[in-house]
Symmetry: C2
Subunit: 351 residues, 2 copies
């Protein structure tokens, strides 16, 4: 007797157990094993039990690789984000993951090579058939990857941002309304010199939020009051620095999102400014951090959880029905007033 007899499901199995092994052990044909494991009704209870038992005993797990090839599905979807290292994308990712894994999908992370709008060559692997679909959170107006994927027939959903020229499923917030809410709040507080430290020009979020702001302000903003840059902490930090070091600093800054707003705050506080007395700061998203006592950021909340979940569901539907007409979901936003906004200091200069 070899010592392996006490290793019921083979601790040392170098070679995988296949359905054929199970079949041989159970005295049936491989196809029967397959049918049992897929719940085929035509198999008798008798053989079903026997096969299940031997499968269990041999520690059989079907080869995903083989199943993928045969069934032409992988059960894997890609989620494209910019920086993994970004609180907003993080919670999106987390919510999408929950929703997708609940229905049996795995998620592979794809980091958008934002370097220019091309680099499609480096994205070749998106075109092999390893993914059943993609959730894209990084769409820019002129991104090349989404149209290319679509042309190849890849099921696709744009989350958070949209692309006007691409008619695919889209799940996003009412960002124009968000911009309006932000501006109205500051205007109501009495601010007349508002700067916007926005995200990249080429994103629908930036474009829409800015449009909302301008809707309310009614007047063109001077060029030095409008800045664009990546949705990152450092960006907000640098923009605030630049704005507040200038001749006549604004009394309020609308940041492109919360991550940037926190960068703005970090810069302001580090240089001794206090909010909202010296400067009002306002963001978008309402990430969890925004509610922390140390931050306490006024922001226009978007329901990123609902967006993430809906986008995930839309993708699942799209995979099942590639040819149904695309949906465009838009979620409402709401102003959340906290401690970083208030009336501007009285007019007399503070010299």
């Amino acid at each position: 007797m070899s010592p392996e007899h006490d290793l019921p499901n083979g601790a040392e199995q170098r070679q995988r157990v296949t359905s054929r092994d199970v079949a041989a052990a159970a005295g049936v044909h491989q196809s029967t094993v397959s049918r049992v494991l897929n719940g085929d009704q035509r198999i008798s209870n008798n053989t079903r039990k026997r096969v299940e038992a031997t499968a269990e005993q041999l520690g059989y797990v079907p080869s995903k690789r083989a199943q993928n090839l045969r069934t032409r599905r992988s059960g894997v979807v890609g989620v494209m984000v910019h920086d993994i290292d970004n609180a907003f994308y993080l919670s999106l990712l987390s919510d999408m993951h929950r929703e997708l894994s609940a229905v049996g999908y795995s998620i592979v992370l794809i980091v958008d090579p934002l370097h220019r709008r091309s680099d499609i060559s480096r994205m070749r692997h998106l075109f092999d058939d390893s993914l059943d679909g993609m959730l894209i959170t990084t769409a820019m107006i002129d991104s090349e990857i989404p149209p290319a994927l679509r042309a190849r027939g890849m099921p696709l959903v744009l989350a958070v941002r949209s692309m006007p020229d691409l008619d695919v499923d889209t799940v996003e917030s009412d960002n124009v309304a968000a911009g309006r809410e932000a501006a109205r709040h500051l205007v109501a507080l009495g601010h007349t010199d508002i700067a916007v430290a926005m995200g990249p020009k080429e994103t629908s979020t930036t474009r829409d939020r800015l449009r909302g702001v301008l809707d309310v302000i009614q007047t063109e903003l001077p060029p030095d009051r409008v800045m664009h840059g990546p949705y990152r902490h450092e960006t907000g930090y640098a923009m605030c620095r630049r704005l507040m070091m200038g001749e006549r600093p604004p009394t309020a800054i609308i940041a492109g999102n919360d991550v940037m707003a926190i960068g703005v705050l970090d810069s302001a506080w580090r240089t001794g400014l206090s909010t909202p007395e010296d400067l009002s700061v306002l963001g978008f998203d309402d990430i969890p951090m925004a509610a922390w006592q140390a931050i306490n950021l006024t922001t226009v909340r978007q329901d990123s959880k609902a967006i993430a979940e809906q986008a995930a569901r839309r993708l699942v539907d799209r995979i099942d029905q590639p040819d149904s007409p695309p949906h465009h979901d838009i979620f409402p936003v709401s102003l959340t007033v906290r401690a970083t906004t208030g009336p501007p200091r009285a007019k007399h200069p503070r010299n």
Copy 2:
């Protein structure tokens, strides 16, 4: 002439282009196409060029699914984390991703069902052959999944945390030293009543850091000065609340990590305590947020970037050489003093 002639690489191709299609179009055998794309030296320059051209023209991309089956590799590794929604895991994930994608691996996210130490049943999909290896950042002393994976021959690396009973590649910090650094700093400042708000008892990080702290303090901590809980913001928040509401609050809190420490700060600040006058707070990790002006947390830095990258490299090596002896990498730590620690208030009670 059908209208498709102006769609060089088929915008509407419902059916995938296979290597056989390319072969037919180029007038060669399928195997030749395969060899060309894999850089087989024996193919003449002539046919190579012709095949490459037709492949390009037809928009051929090899089927990953078929390659996976044939080559018995998937080019995908799993990264197991607890909460995606956690700044520390995030940056780990981000660094691992950079390192792994540079050498051609994709990452699928696996969220540890920390619910008890079992639920191996829900992890069945880890045992199919869809992953070439796994990076585990959530090991607990009694986790069942890592040993089970190992028994199946899955290449495995434990990052950040280790499991004493499992002899696999491990990449972590010198957490005992980290605990010592933390305690020494506070003791040197004059603190005599220190509480620890640690992570889960069953993690090597908690165990090691606590050991380091006790090494220095030399005396047993009273039971109400030692708390354990998940490595989360809320946990730190709740623990601080409990500690500071008590009869005789401590003058310093060592938190299990930065995320918890920020929870502690959030709670302290929200109740009007100021740091470090009323309370010194210290964390571990030095996540980026810890350096923000609004937080400015004293912490024991661990080089999570180096750990993530090294773990990724170890995994790649392990996949290539499944039977080489395991490595155990340990990285040094360093105290980073910021604004949340200082001498305790003078002894007289503050009634």
